[in-house]
Amino acid sequence: MPKDGGIGARSKRREDVRFLTGRGKYTDDIQLPGQTYACFARSQVANGRIAGIDTTAAEKMPGVLAVFTGEDFKDVGGNPAGWLINSRDGTPMKEPKRPVLAHGKVRHVGDAYAAVVAETYEQARDAVDAIEAEIEELPAVIDMASALANSDNLVHDEIGTNQCFDWGWIEDNREATDAAIKSAPHVTTLHLVNNRLVPNAMEPRSSTGSYDPGTGEYELRTTSQNPHLTRLLISAFVLGIPENKLTVIAPDVGGGFGSKIYHYGEEALVLAAAKRLGRPVRWTATRTEAFLTDAHGRDHVTKIELATEKDGKFIAIRTETMANVGAYLSNFSTATPTFLHGTLMAGVYSVPNVYVNVKAVFTNTAPVDAYRGAGRPEATYSIERVVDKCARELGIDPIELRRKNFIKPDMYPYTTPVALQYDSGNYDALVDKMEERGDLAGFEARAAESKSRGKLRGLGISTYIEACGIAPSNLVGQLGSRVGLYDAATVRVNATGNLSVMVGAHSHGQGHETVFPQIVADMLGIDESMIEIVHGDTSKIPFGMGTYGSRSLAVCGSAVVKATEKVITKAKLIAAHMLEAPGEEVEFEDGIFSIKGTNKTVPWGDVALKAYIPHDFPLENLEPGLEETAFYDPANFTYPSGAYACEVEVDPDTGEVDVLSFVAADDFGNVMNPMIVEGQVQGGLAQGIGQAMLENTTYDENGQLLSASYMDYTMPRADDFPMFTVDHSSVTPCTHNPLGVKGCGEAGAIGSPAAVVNAVIDAIQRGGKSDLTHIDMPLTPARVWAAMNA
């Protein structure tokens, strides 16, 4: 029987009432009195020296209030990278300054070098066109291999190289891995490109800065996944505004997928401009600006080798990757290709030797950072493609080869050669579930039917594991993180018995406003509708770290549990006082406090009211009020895993690929709301299959972004997909957080690309072209046809 409330119920998303009726309140919907508008002048060249910027004409344009250039911000700080990565030789990564506005040089098309603030948006835009910038174009640094080879042409002259770091993980594994590969009976090698993606949140970035000269207080309304982190970056690193004089509010946010984790220069500009003008300043990105300046995702070029015994037992995995970080280091850009990628390179397999090398490369392109999955899709794609190729080379069924090498359920906790300790999992159970839900036994009959119609049918498998619930501060601190990655919740019981729960996580599509109340309601034995979630405003919420890395439930949800436990403890003391019994004798169940072995009870609502009317409290032993805060720092990452199967049909005449079915069998640990989990997986699958089939970000050799609109960048649509089969019934609970949850937000995007590509390769090989072992994503008809006819 499905539950009708609490943990595990398919509670409908309460936030959808406003989203589906057009009543959401996004940054750009909020109109402040006296508001003005900012517009940015952006570089048309990828690499250029700013010889001069003449703003005289722009300043005289109608409605113009102020014009800013990089000169105005040369004395403030830069936007920092959040992780310090050390190279193999022990030297720290190169960290060139990322200014609010470009100064001296522009480094990618779209790099802002000036901004106009005017009475209307149109006036600001016209005035931007009147800015005369003399920018001498320099040769662009685009291709990563050339960027590393050529030290004459630099993105950042002051660091003397285009290499940010050269990271080895784990350096101590290097020799043993090299030796194991050298002596292995079989080595499968694969070169692949993980295509660059533009996040394309439905709501473009938008920021409104305001300043009160009477109090000296700033407010920033902005599209952020983590308002406290944004405030910290602006205060401590960029503008130096005292943290207690800056409120950051992230109201409704229309999708982020990682791109709104980061602090961007536009946020600093609107704050500085608001102070100078004494009026609110708003900027909202056009879709073209979103393409040019949102932090992009992926963009790895990888060589992976898998060494095995003749029977397919894995001996070693070795990778060499070039990871594009773009023109500047975005906040998580150095963690994404390293600790969110290299640490996952053992996958779900028991493999004794793993060594990962990642060179991060500056190029004259938009910054690249975490995008749904963040490093783990890149790791999964590399592993699952090479495992598939290996199976074909050895003549072993791809599922059998995977099963043969899985970490088995009796091996947990399992420490991989790349330093993670998986706490739980059962990968064979996931494959069983995938085979059952996808009727894999019936595949050959379906393939024969396709063949009768002249089509090539293929079956592709992928497994994945990801590290979510980011992250244990102690561990990430040792790995170079400059921030802690706990989260926080305050549970405030109001006098009338309902609750306001303030959380550090930010919901921008995830459904926190529905799920967190389910948990609290379950713990208190009251109705979900009595609980309201408050998020997104640093003046209201405790100092949490926000939402990314599938962490909200595992980390912030755990903080909610801890704070609710504290509330129950305190409420029991109040109940004990009311019932005139010792505190340890109070029991609490289904919203009723009772005394062991008696029929004395007091309901939840009476205790809540009493907390705020403490007329007879023994104040030396019992404080008034019922409000508790908890900070929760996880003991380990969580490790969701899954087994995915994709069936495709390839048209041999045109190269067109039709994705016919997709089965996702995931282990997310305990599930709080199955409906929301299904939605999260479906969204992730859309993005992952979109990467595999459609999406690609293309810069030409001069650094011009050619795929800068929906005319040239193909977003997936509903009719590109079959109905997804999503199953999360195979559960191994997380062992170290109170809910036993693992996180589900990114899984679909992590596990699906390899399954799609494996399916297409399978189809083509079944069609007789057995020497075709790889096609780089996206698998457009042109690429598939060309590969089939090469």
Binding site: Q44, V45, V109, V128, D129, T288, F291, L292, D700, N702, Q704, L705, L706, S707, A708, S709, M711, D712
Partner: protein, 181 residues
């Protein structure tokens, strides 16, 4: 993008060379050229109106001649700035070879666009550059030779380009006007 092609022109290499040095000729040949001033030594200033896909703009540009080896070869380089629309630039390496009493004009063209032109028009830019180049040299041939006798006027490569300059067709070619005028 890069393009190479060649044209046989019914005039001597010296005559072709002189035409390439003439601002008025160049303006007649550059599609959409509104104005061209300057000299081969100091370079030419040009104003060109063009529409590329969804982006229509007035380009202020400069054309320079370099690597000049009269009357054998030279390089024409140009760049135009279209303000918020972006920019276009390109070069043509031109060689003139005597052939059958006339001249074989061979060219290697390289063209690039940037800014909004690249962001919104990249799908059509290769075709656009090829069309611009073909038009330039076709018009150049017409201007130097005069229009083909039998061909009706405007049979050239005007296409549907609404922003192109006035038709280049003349009763007499540029050289014959010079020599008879």
């Amino acid at each position: 993008m890069k393009m190479t092609d060649q044209r046989a022109i019914n005039a001597s290499p010296a005559q072709v060379w002189d035409a390439l040095m003439d601002a008025e000729v160049l303006c007649q040949c550059v599609p959409g050229c509104q104005e061209m001033t300057g000299s081969p030594q100091e370079g030419f200033e040009a104003t060109v109106v063009q529409k590329v896909g969804p982006v229509k703009a007035t380009f202020k540009g400069a054309v320079t001649l370099s690597e000049m080896d009269p009357p054998h070869s030279l390089k024409l380089s140009g760049q135009g700035k279209g303000g918020p629309a972006g920019f276009a630039k390109g070069s043509a390496q031109v060689t003139l070879t005597p052939e059958d009493g006339g001249t074989l004009l061979a060219y290697e063209v390289e063209a690039n666009v940037g800014g909004k032109l690249a962001q919104l028009g990249s799908r059509i830019i290769d075709g656009f550059a090829k069309k611009m180049t073909d038009q330039f040299f076709a018009r150049f041939q017409e201007v130097v030779e005069g229009p083909p006798q039998e061909a009706p006027e405007n049979s050239g490569d005007e296409g549907g380009d609404d922003s192109a300059a006035e038709p280049p067709a003349k009763k007499k070619g540029w050289f014959s006007r010079l020599s008879s005028g």
